[in-house]
Symmetry: C2
DNA sequence: CGCGAACTTGAGGCGTGTCAACCCCTGTGG
DNA sequence: CCACAGGGGTTGACACGCCTCAAGTTCGCG
């Protein structure tokens, strides 16, 4: 009780129980679970995979293909689907590379490990995003990819993808774009890691996540983090305590509500302001 | 004089004048200039560009092509060559993307800028390496590429590259590999920026540079830095003073001799030991 | 030869890491 | 339905590595 009152004194803007009320009133928790319940219906696992009828076809690799081209890739790029439960690895560093993976449902993290256990998370991936591009260069995967919730991926054998890309120009173009965008994304992370402060990093992380969720038709303000503070910290080059403190500070400043993994962004403009000085 | 003696007291392993003598004795400075004098003969600028007869053909994009394939790309991928003096930009963020560039001679840095002038150097590129892959995704370049010494690049129009890659499978494969390797390289930098200490970062930087120079037939121990402390710092997520101090500390520990931009790595194994705990 | 940029070095401050205690949720078994 | 265990999250106190600011030195270039 004393610790509680001490807490409310410092965060003199929002009381904890107030947060609770607001979150529930806005049916925040329900909305935040939308991503999982709508996009990841674990009961429905079609054995046959057709890009043309996939709900992610406008986000995933075959963006902008014509109907005829869709037919072609449905026919020739026989992608099977693979199911992973939370915590399972899709591949590990050193594994032979022979396919790339498009996330159909769920959430992944990719990371590189060091001998002494310092991990570096290199990215968090959600529906429609590709994993495994790191393996093309050497024929072996250079990172590990792990499902951080029950997930399903489309397996796209690399040999077939290469072959089809030669015939379907817009697929070739999309593949190159995907590779290039990954490079650009990494440059953004380098800017973040190399020259941003803790608050800027966390703000950038949240806004990026919110943006990608909105692209997929979900709320950009009510989100449920799929990853732990430690994983966020690893991605952002911070310790988990710093991530936690920064969330708390944002809440104290009225930018968002945080409650474990549930985040309600109440002032996206304010969050964006934190990045005003850093973004072009 | 007093400052000098103070300095020699702390660095109780090597005296400054001793360094000077040793460097000269090993004809360090001459050797270290090799990269520039041999690889960048500014007087020789052939107007006609043929990959098949380029001295970098085993390092650059067309690695492993057959003679027939070389003929094809010489014919169809009409690369012109472009000359840039030190400080000139090859392209800037926002410029339209229509070609990628292979460095023929010289040295580049790529970087992203933020509003308030915080730059993040995303890489240093030397002969045989590609620049501009970041533009494929959006059709506009996302970074700026600047020559940090007088340089020449081969201009590879992207449209033609795409077309030729469809017919020459191994070129397609090499392009994909180059894109993928860039992603992997970026992941390595993310590990560096996200979870390494200043000394580890600088050691990794030096060893990487030495490695790439050796691949090109130059000394891996005597090198001349093409970039300033500030640029190194920007790349490594450190301030220039920290970079300078770290060099000095390495010298005090007998790992290398440093004298402005001239570096003589005397104990590569010792340098590598600094990374033992971090590399897989 | 002299100027300015780049580099080195020092002293002190600050932001983030470290270590530790406590709390809150979830899931499990009685 | 409750008790309990354990992992994840929060918060505090303190330490330390890197940054900041400043002065002095060296070097390259005009």
């Amino acid at each position: 009780m004393s610790s509680l009152s001490g807490r409310t004194e410092r965060m003199n803007i929002i009381l904890p129980m107030e947060i609770d009320r607001l979150m529930k009133a806005a049916s925040f928790i329900e909305a935040a679970h939308a991503y999982e319940t709508v996009v990841a219906p674990l009961h429905a696992v079609p054995s046959k995979v057709a890009c043309s009828s996939c709900h992610l076809r406008e986000i995933c690799l075959p963006v902008g293909l014509t109907a005829a081209e869709f037919d072609l890739i449905d026919l020739r790029m026989v992608a099977e689907r693979r199911k992973l439960s939370r915590g399972a690895s899709l591949f590990r560093a050193g594994d032979r590379f022979d396919a790339i993976y498009a996330i159909w449902t769920g959430f992944f993290k990719t990371f590189v490990s060091s001998k002494d256990g310092r991990d570096q998370v290199t990215g968090f991936q959600m529906g429609g995003e590709l994993i495994g591009l790191d393996g093309i260069g050497t024929g072996r995967h250079q990172v590990e990819a792990m499902a951080i919730e029950d997930s399903q991926v489309c397996v796209i054998p690399y040999g077939e993808l290469e072959a089809v890309a030669r015939d379907v120009h817009s697929l070739q173009r999309q593949l190159h774009k995907a590779l290039s965008r990954e490079i650009v994304r990494d440059h953004g992370v380098m800017l973040l890691l190399g020259s941003m402060h803790a608050e800027e990093r966390v703000a950038a992380f949240l806004l990026n996540l919110a943006h990608r969720l909105r692209e997929r038709g979900f709320s950009a303000s009510a989100l449920v983090l799929r990853m732990s503070r430690e994983e966020i910290g690893s991605y952002l080059g911070l310790k988990l305590e710093t991530v936690s403190r920064t969330f708390s500070k944002f809440q104290a400043n009225g930018l968002l509500f945080v409650r474990q993994r549930q985040i309600q962004i109440t002032d996206p403009v304010g969050l964006q302001h934190l990045l005003d000085s850093v973004e072009a």
